[in-house]
Amino acid sequence: MGLKINNISGGYAGNNILKNISFDVPNGEIVALIGLNGAGKSTTVNHIIGELQPQMGSIVLNDTNIVSEPTAFKSQLAYIPEQPILYDELTLAEHLHLMLAAHEKDNENTWERVVSLLTMFRLEDKLNWLPIHFSKGMRQKVMLVSAFMLNAPLLIVDEPFLGLDTLAQRDVVSLMKEQAKLGNSILMTTHLLASAATFVDRFVVLHDGKVRFVGTPSALAEENQLTVDHLDDLFDLMQKELANEG
């Protein structure tokens, strides 16, 4: 169970960016989707969150198909985009209540968790603030609280460390680990391979719209004759390969 991506092909406006992609994010695992710019990471995420429809293949989360049951699929999903997106008209508290109400979780028990998350990200005294008053980092933290408070079966995190201070980055990692322990699936995209290698269970490497590799950080390092600490060098290798292909 968990998230199953089966042979999906798709892209924007008829442009086939993804070519027969398949991988799983089992329950209780943290999987990092990596690749160079333009490899198809964002397109894959957009298919999973329902922003794009695959031309072929299927996306199934705990037996729920996104195409046939989009609402049931989305009720199991929490998403943290790379760029924080908020309603300009809603305060922080209103954003959180709205998301909880949409997921039918707007009750006192959930709010206790919300308060602990707000305290963790030092937002507890900003409940009545409007997004216009938030810095970029604070906006990103609002997205984190909105997603982590749901305890959703699938958490998708697009570049989780972007715009966050070191403390917040550490908190995000511990929260993702906590979610995995609860049995939820986590799919993240990142360019910081060496950092991600310390806590992810598996890497999915995308290259030119195809899955190049699926495996543990040590297996990825071994395949490319690198050490785990120097996994960031993988991008250099991929770039050279792309130049040679060109």
Partner: protein, 428 residues
């Protein structure tokens, strides 16, 4: 590219943009509303000039206050149009004398042309009143027109000089400080005094006054003229110049936004804490989408003011159409309700554009039903206001009943077929 060519190129670009906005503004629905609104205004204006009660008013001194206020409003319209862009600060820097000689000269000429048209419109609008008051009002009417245009020219020249770096400005020091007092003095007090003189002096005195004013104008125009030699010693304060241009552009957009939704414009919001009390009661324990629509509407700076303005205009028209037939009042009321519903539609499309909305596990039918609930309550409020206005102003049971029946029919039709149809169309 030459500085003069750059100005005309930007002018053409702005014309194209304005034409696009005008098309948005003058949509079919708004044109119908405008025709009826203009008809109502003309009817009310005619009553103002002919009824015995209004004639009593024109014989008192209050008419002077009204006319001066009206012309002062006209004088505030028409800014200096420079089309400067924030990037000019970087790309046009060092080319100041050329910009001042060529670009700004065209900018001032165009601004004067636009402003003169506005002044002519404002003076023309009060000609029937002036002809009622004075046996022969031609001298005063032409004096008012000449004064309004020439004074506006001065204001524009002062505005232009504010764009120069202060240490190089060779202008009257008092104009450098952009204070409220300065605004009150030169935009309200001085023109009021002059306008009052034109209205109350004898014809001979008005001749003398206007001759003196024209001499003063020639001297001032010479003073503000920028020769090639002068231009070389000036420099533009780019921070002020680009800020002024942005503010002018925002004011134009704001004008279009009065009655139409202008796409792709930076959206601003207002917290409106005073509405929190009502809002909390409206959304408490309600579904997520209903909470979202109401909260967004309550703090929106485009749709809500637009809807409120439509309601106010609708109420004024149904209120002043005293002598019009009952069916016309009912049609205006129905049209107001329709336009309010039409203007609320962007709330739905704009909310669906947000990824938050699309990610929420809520079905499309739930989203639609919540939106129709918002329409329903807004319609109740609008209909009540229109019916009460007609009942109070006309005192006619027949007229009120006719409006009541038509509004019920229109509201049901809108909710059952028009709004679902438009939502379906927007989704496509």
């Amino acid at each position: 590219m030459k500085a003069s060519d750059l100005f005309w190129r930007r002018f053409r670009d702005e014309q194209r943009t304005s034409a696009k906005y005008l098309r948005l503004l003058f949509n079919d629905h708004f044109v119908i509303f405008l025709i009826i609104a203009l008809g109502g205004i003309v009817l009310a204006y005619r009553e103002l000039l002919s009824t015995p009660q209004s004639m009593m008013f024109w014989r008192s001194n209050w008419w002077q206050v009204i006319i001066i206020t009206w012309l002062l409003i006209g004088l505030q319209i028409g800014d200096l149009i420079t089309y400067f862009k924030p990037a000019d600060r970087l790309y046009l820097l060092g080319n100041d004398s050329e910009i001042i000689k060529k670009y700004l000269t065209r900018s001032v000429n165009l601004s004067i042309l636009y402003a003169s048209v506005w002044q002519a419109v404002f003076v023309s609008a009060i000609i029937p009143i002036l002809l009622r008051i004075y046996v022969s009002g031609l001298l005063r009417i032409s004096s008012l027109l000449i004064f309004a245009i020439s004074y506006k020219l001065l204001l524009l020249l002062f505005e232009r000089d504010k764009l120069f770096l202060k240490q190089r400005v060779q202008t009257i020091t008092i104009f450098e400080a952009n204070s409220t007092a300065e605004g009150l003095l030169f935009r309200v007090l001085l023109p009021s005094i002059f306008l009052e003189f034109i209205l109350i002096l004898t014809q001979t005195q008005v001749y003398i006054l206007m001759s003196a004013w024209l001499v003063l104008m020639v001297v001032t125009a010479y003073y503000f003229h920028i020769s090639n030699h002068k231009a070389n010693s000036f420099a533009i304060n780019w921070a002020i110049a680009t800020q002024q241009a942005q503010q002018q552009k925002q004011r134009v957009l704001h004008f279009f936004a009065l009655f139409a939704e202008i796409p792709n414009q930076p959206k601003s919001i207002k917290r409106r804490r005073y509405l929190d009390f009502c809002l909390q009661r409206l959304i408490k324990n309600k579904p997520a989408m209903l909470r979202l629509y109401w909260t967004r509407l309550a703090r929106d700076t485009e749709i809500l003011p637009l809807v409120l303005r439509l309601i106010i205009v609708g109420m004024i028209i149904v209120g002043v159409l005293q002598t019009a037939p009952d069916w016309l009042v009912a049609v205006v009321g129905a049209l107001t309700v329709y336009l309010v519903n039409f203007q609320l539609l962007p709330l739905f499309s704009d909310t669906q554009k947000k990824i938050w909305t699309r990610l929420m596990p809520i079905t499309n039918s739930q989203k639609q039903s919540a939106f129709i609930q918002v329409h329903r309550l807004v319609n109740y409020i609008v209909c009540t206001l229109l019916i009460v206005t007609v009942a109070v102003t006309s005192g006619s049971l027949q007229r009120t009943l006719l409006l009541f029946v038509l509004l019920i029919v229109v509201t049901i039709a809108l909710q059952k077929s028009y709004i679902p149809y438009m939502i379906k169309k927007m989704k496509k």
